[in-house]
Structures are given as C-alpha cells and as structure tokens.
C-alpha cells in the first residue's frame, strides 16, 4: 500500500549528529510499525522553499512525532534552536484550523524529561509529553505504543521489546550493509536510510506488514 494521508507520519526532530541514533530509531520503528515516515530531509531540491516543503509534508501526514528535546541553549549563540517547536506549532495549527481530514491529526511529543517543556513552551501544558532520556530503545517503545493506536485496521502490533530487538538487529547489520554498498553509514541521507530500513523489513517481515506495505518517500 503506498503512503497515504492516513498512514504517513511527519518526523519533526533535530538532524544533528548527536541525535542520529534517535533519528534512526524513529525512522526504523515507524516503518516497522507499518507506517511511512516523512520529514524535511526527504528529497534534495534547492529550488524548493523549505517552509513550503514542510507545510506541504505536514498537510500530507495525519500523524506526527515531535521531539523538542534539543530546545536548549547553544553555547555559540546563546540561543535555542527553535525549528522543532515552530513546526510542532504548524502541525497543531493545521489540526485546529484545517478541514475535516486535518482535524483528525494526532501526534506524540518527546522531550528529555516530562516537565522540562513547562519552562519554555508552557502553552502545551496538558498534553502528554513522553520522555526518552536520549535512549533509542525507549523511543522505539513509545513510537510503537503511539502508532498501535492509529493502525488503519484492527491489528495488534508486536510488543515494544520485540521491536527493540528488531531495531538492534537492523543497527548491528547496518554498518556492514552500508560498507557493501559503499555508503557512509554515519551520513546516510534520509532517503538512503529509508531504503535501508524498508529493505531490511522486507527481508524480515512481520504479519502486519502485509496489510500496510512499505514504500519509500524520496
């Protein structure tokens, strides 16, 4: 099944090197749950205005995963990076002011710990913020629990522990596969990472994958 509004998940997170293991965990687990991750890093078209690309992707995704854990002081500029909260706001705006389909949007918000957001974005008080503590395994479990409630058909996804084991297998073998393809494992583009994840899942399928199928958004 191709990516649709219903099964697409907007990944709104930092893209720096330190965040890389968490980013890989999110992309892999979204695919492994039978959904399609979308993010601002897909495609590579300098002629496209970034904000238009982001709003377009947000409009095409019913679900989203926002990670505001990097909203912190930068030691060089003494200012926080604010792209993630900004794009989270666009997603909420689409849900509040959009049409019938847009109003069905749902998202999950991550931070390092549950209460930190109150000091810089208290307007989202009352929302269920999940903490990942910078651990990819915790993130995989939360992503699984969130997406299991949004699977288009009545399906029970494998438990968090099973998906974490699969994520470990994927990561363990990723370096060797990248070497085989002469890819730089640490600087994989979103598209390449997506293809690697889909390829691995295709060769190690779970029953629910037959229902939703995986495609790569490039």
């Amino acid at each position: 099944m191709p990516a649709t509004y219903e099964n697409s998940v907007f990944i709104n997170c930092p893209f720096d090197t330190a965040y890389r293991p968490l980013f890989e965990a999110v992309v892999f687990s979204v695919y492994d749950c039978g959904f399609h991750p979308r993010c601002a890093m897909e495609g590579d078209d300098s002629s496209q205005v970034r904000i238009q690309k982001i709003t377009s992707i947000i409009g095409e995704c019913r679900l989203a995963i926002h990670d505001i854990s990097r909203t912190q002081f930068d030691l060089t500029h003494f200012l926080p990076r604010f792209n993630v909260p900004f794009e989270f706001g666009i997603f909420v705006g689409a849900k509040v002011f959009g049409g019938r389909e847009q109003r069905r949007k749902a998202c999950m918000v991550f931070d390092v710990d549950r209460d930190r957001y109150k000091t810089f974005i208290s307007d989202i008080a009352g929302q269920d913020i999940r903490e990942h503590g910078h651990e990819p395994e915790t993130l995989v479990r939360h992503v699984r629990d969130f997406l299991s409630g949004h699977f288009p058909s009545a399906v029970i996804l494998p438990g968090g522990r099973a998906l974490v084991e699969r994520y470990h297998d994927f990561r363990r073998q990723l370096a060797a596969s990248c070497a085989e393809l002469r890819l730089d494992r640490d600087t994989l583009t979103f598209r390449d990472l997506a293809i690697m994840a889909v390829g691995w899942i295709d060769l190690n399928p779970l029953p629910h994958h037959a229902l939703n199928g995986n495609t790569v958004h490039s």
Binding site: Q173, A176, S177, C178, E180, L181, L183, R191, D192, I195, M196, V198, G199, W200, D202, L203, V216, S218
Partner: protein, 55 residues
Amino acid sequence: MEQRVVRTVMRPPRSKNLTLTQAKRAWRKVMRDERKAEERKRLDQAARAGAPPVS
C-alpha cells in the same frame, strides 16, 4: 546536397541513487555472512568442547 540525419540513441545515465533492490541484495549478503559466522563459531565451540559437530 542531401544531409543525412543521424539519430543517436542516448542511454540514460545509471542512477547514482540507491535502489531498494541494491539495498536488499546487500542485506541478503550481510545476513548470509552473519549466519555463516555464527555456524563457524558454533562448530568451533563444539570442537573445543570435544563434542561431535551437529549440522
């Protein structure tokens, strides 16, 4: 003078992009190598323990 029109058929350049087929081929090789390594390790352990290898 009559001019000949020469048509050249341009082959599309090979895509530099990674394809799903390439990725799956690489995964298959890595998984096969890993299975072989595990099998070798198991045989080595069995040999060290003095037990006859079971295959």
